[in-house]
């Protein structure tokens, strides 16, 4: 009998983060803390990042991940957590149908 699918996501960022740590990689976890307006990912969504900039998960629909990864590499180096705030209100993005026009706050912390 196959085992029960234990988790709520096939590509679960927190499971991946645990695996990375076990491989000896340095890891940061970014978490959506607050949203206003039409933010694409809910509070609690995770992006996990390693020191080389590899990442899994998402904190937006791809709009701000690049910036979060860059900040996360700093957080891994310094060890100090950061709160990032993004306004996603680009006219072009809106016209091509991205769910933007919202703002999100993302907490980035080192896993240590």
């Amino acid at each position: 009998m196959e085992s029960i699918a234990p988790l709520d996501d096939v590509r679960d960022p927190l499971i991946i983060a645990e695996g990375w740590v076990d491989e000896g990689r340095h890891v940061a976890i970014a978490t959506v803390v607050e949203t206003w307006g039409s933010a694409p990912r809910p509070v609690g969504s995770h992006l996990v990042i390693d020191a080389q900039g590899n990442f899994e998960g998402s904190v937006s629909g791809g709009c701000v991940e690049g910036a979060v990864v860059t900040e996360a590499i700093d957080v891994i180096a310094s060890g100090a957590a950061k709160m990032l705030e993004f306004g996603v209100a680009d006219e072009t993005a809106w016209r091509v149908g991205l769910s933007c026009g919202g703002r999100i706050k993302v907490y980035v912390e080192k896993l240590c």
Binding site: M1, I4, A5, P6, L7, D8, L14, I15, A17, E18, V21, I29, T31, V33, E34, P42, V43, G44, A81, M83, K105, Y107, E109, L111, C112
Partner: protein, 240 residues
Amino acid sequence: MDIAALKAMNEERRARRAAVMVTDLDDGTTTLMRENAGAGGELGRALAKAFATGNSAAVEADGRRLLLNTHLPRPRLVVIGAVHISQALAPMARIAGYPVEVIDPRTAFASADRFGDVELYADWPETVLKERPLDAYCALAAVTHDPKIDDFALKAALDAGCFYVGALGSRKTHAKRVERLLEMGATADAIARISAPIGLDIGAASPAEIAVAVLAQVVRAFRTRGATADAARPAKGEAA
């Protein structure tokens, strides 16, 4: 977040237990909270809400800015009976986010021809549920009409504290079922949790419509867990 807390939380999640990771946004410390851990004050109220809704949230509690990151096990809908209703219920429920497992020892019913890629167990509930135990994040719908197949599963669902237990059959059929469950050692309070006749009363007539009624009742039961008993339990005028 410290690695030990992350591992502890993933362990809870793998074991299908609800957990909330509480992060203090001012000093960065993390604490793993399990359900019914007995936290009081504003944090206790915020945690109760997190466990009930499954939502994560940033909150001000007891003078601290906290992020509550909530992880509930994904609900499983276990259907006893590979019947016409189940053929309709399985795809609908999967779309709604309630993956279905169908159990029926009658191999003529529990066939891949009839169910495609639905998770199907052509065996007795006694056998399957031993391997795949029910828990508080399971819903159980017994729809065979056959006490030999349904009764054990219903008792198991009550014992496991499944968030939803429903049984197909008329009021008369259910009255006899109540007698049998009492003989099996279920308490009257536990038996009162069974939604029977099964499904919200939407006047469902066809097997597919009954499936809609059952799915709606499962969703309501899940979304009102821990709310007032009245909301979670079958009220007047529910039938199928």
